[in-house]
Amino acid sequence: MTRDKIIYISISYILLIVFAFAAITKLLEQEKFYTNLVNSPILELPSLVIHIMAWLIPILEVFVVIGLIWKRFQVQAIYLIVILLITYIIYTLAILLVAPYSPCSCGGVIALIGWTQHLYLQIGLLSLTFVEMYYHFKISKS
């Protein structure tokens, strides 16, 4: 196994664990996740849209996990990770910079770390995803 492949597989497993953790936690705490979205100071959306979002986000994260495991869908999974992480980063930045107050941080990993630390985590994961993307295309070409 080459060095490139080891890096690629290692990052794949890190992303797999993070997204599986995020998806399962959101599904286990569905009610809490919905409440957090409803009470968000920057998501002024109708209740139905929030309900759909509360299901759609963990389902997309499950798709990421399936895509990372299933070799055929790995590229799609990587693109989906980039889209999700950029969305999360924009949301977290809005909470930190625009929102009149920081809402309850009581769901999943955010309960253990603050919003600022969460932002650093997301930026770190996005950087890892770009490294993953680079090695994916490098390995595919060789």
């Binding site: 797999l16 664990i17 309850c104 253990l112």
Partner: protein, 87 residues
């Protein structure tokens, strides 16, 4: 081939275990807000679901305060038991 399947399965088991641990560790952590004598302040309570009002009081003071999800009175939190939470 077996190792190729085994590693993702182990990673998934690991993530599932972590999720359950985190969920139970943070089960009681819901931050609500009360309009107390000194204005709005946050309280950590366990009252998300239910049909009763979620209320707290600061013993020995008997005054009860309704808990809200945000710092305004438009989003009162509910409780399953309706018991007043002593802080």
């Amino acid at each position: 081939m077996k190792i190729k399947m085994l590693l993702p399965v182990l990673a998934l088991i690991f993530a599932t275990g972590m999720s359950f641990t985190t969920v139970s560790a943070t089960d009681q952590q819901v931050t609500g807000y009360i309009n107390g004598p000194n204005g709005w302040e946050s309280v950590n309570v366990d009252c998300v679901m239910g049909s009763e009002d979620c209320k707290v009081r600061f013993l020995p003071n008997p005054t009860e305060y309704q808990v809200f999800a945000t710092e305004d009175e438009s989003t009162p939190l509910n409780s399953a038991s309706g018991e007043i939470i002593d802080l």
